[in-house]
Symmetry: C2
Subunit: 296 residues, 2 copies
């Protein structure tokens, strides 16, 4: 790994989705106690990304902010809805050509899926992978999800920075504060900031150079009728089983009339984001992933 890219500014973001309270309240807390995220050799700044959506206790007002950061959209002066404007403003503030460019964006999310504490990386770039490896070495309960070619490396808020990572915790209902996940997210943030401080000092501790992650393959939608109405539920045997192997022939959905619909592909997969509330409208019942062990 190249150690020559010093981290000068870290942006911690919460409320990219307004009804994901863990991040929102952590940002409010850090804004009240900035000394807790101050480190000796870089600047840490915070952002409550979508304040209107938070006030409305909704994911977004007009469209999902975390899909608004394609370069083309950021430079499109004809766009005028709330989240497109917000994305352009955030780019002007923290983008690479903005007023205060962020070297690393740490974006805080929660999910109704049983993702536990997940670190999300968006590519195979060594810096993020090494940080993810460190975090899962320090906290063995952490899972690492690689969003791969799902689009997040192109259109997410965190894609503005050179380096990015998201913390995704759940299952937490939308519009609910869960103290356990608040505290776990907070602890991981401190661990990341301490890591970055040592990274800047070229003083990282030794830790294994292997990493297990779950890499995005594709999405599966709910079975729907011709009107787009859902015809089946996540099967009870699959509900809450994020990161567990799903083998060919095992239950995937249960129709309202009681029929089991099995997983019919040929290969074992590892579903994540199973039954995420915000994905119903996106036509996503879960993501399928491939479990990989890599050496960094």
């Amino acid at each position: 790994m190249k150690l020559n890219s010093q981290i000068n500014r870290v942006l911690i973001v919460g409320g990219t989705h307004g009804n994901e309270f863990t991040g929102v309240y952590l940002i409010k807390f850090f804004q009240q106690y900035p000394e807790l995220i101050r480190r000796t050799n870089f600047e840490t700044v915070t952002l409550l990304a979508n304040p209107q959506a938070f006030s409305a206790v909704r994911r977004y007002i007009n469209k999902d902010l975390n899909r608004c950061f394609r370069r083309q959209s950021l430079e499109d002066s004809t766009l005028a809805n709330y989240e497109d404007l917000l994305a352009q403003k955030i780019d002007h503030m923290f983008g690479q050509n903005g007023e205060n460019p962020a070297d690393l964006i740490l974006d805080l999310h929660s999910t109704t899926a049983n993702m536990g504490v997940t670190i999300i990386v968006d590519n195979d770039e060594p810096f993020s992978l090494q940080l993810a490896a460190y975090l899962s070495y320090i906290n063995p309960f952490i899972k690492v999800y690689n969003s791969g070619n799902s689009g997040r490396s192109l259109n997410s808020l965190r894609s503005l920075a050179k380096f990015s990572i998201a913390i995704e915790v759940g299952s937490v209902p939308q519009g609910v504060l869960n103290a356990d996940f608040f505290l776990k997210t907070q602890t991981i943030i401190y661990t990341i900031l301490d890591y970055l401080e040592q990274y800047n000092y070229h003083n990282l501790p030794a830790f294994p150079n292997t990493l297990v992650f779950y890499k995005y393959l594709e999405t599966i939608d709910f079975p729907r009728n011709e009107h787009g109405e859902i015809q089946a539920m996540i099967h009870p045997q699959l509900q809450f089983k994020d990161y567990e192997p799903l083998n060919p022939g095992e239950p995937l959905f249960l129709t309202f009339a009681g029929q089991t619909i099995p997983y019919t592909a040929n290969l074992t997969t590892y579903p994540v984001f199973i039954n995420e509330a915000a994905y119903y409208e996106k036509g996503i019942a879960m993501y399928l992933t491939d479990k990989q062990q890599i050496t960094i």
Copy 2:
């Protein structure tokens, strides 16, 4: 118990809150398979109460429909927002002076609180208490909550009928279908319909005449600052502990700065609806109840 009040029409309602999917999809299912809720000696009808809110995946559009059924509001011709109009329409359809008066309304709800499978009764009227006693005898995992003087007997949709009961399941996030709770709610509905059929035949089976319920005492709000912003979370030791005893001195909230706020009253209470997402805006962190055993 007086057996002279025959049940002629049962109304099963879902989607009184548009983002509580268990009820919505059960109603859609029953509308597709009406024979499943047909019984020999009464009529069963169904209602998806707030279709606009369901389309928007929100609890309501303008105001909480389940607080719109005070007689005064139902007769106020100056009211014009969506839920007030909807309430008046539902009253015209199923109210006691409506086109098809419902003798019993069964309202289907879900909650982000860990309420398991809860039967809600709204008063001490023997018919509902006896039905609740039967259900908790048949399904020992069922809890019974008596909403007492909380207002539900005056302003809820189900208050339109002579008799009413609600099924409240959780924890389920808003906007999420949980198959396990869907199936459990479905089973209880069938049990209730079978009970009512036997009731009409004056042929109820023998079952214990005792009932344990948890009766509404008061609500507790989150600690807030002068701007109304939440300053503490449900304490991790209390989260998910609905229906368990909370004793004086035990943890209630945890501030963001890590301070525990204990429960300071003198008497043991049994909190329910702990951390229900929809109650943040109502200034309710939980309901406190009194556990009572009664003989019917």
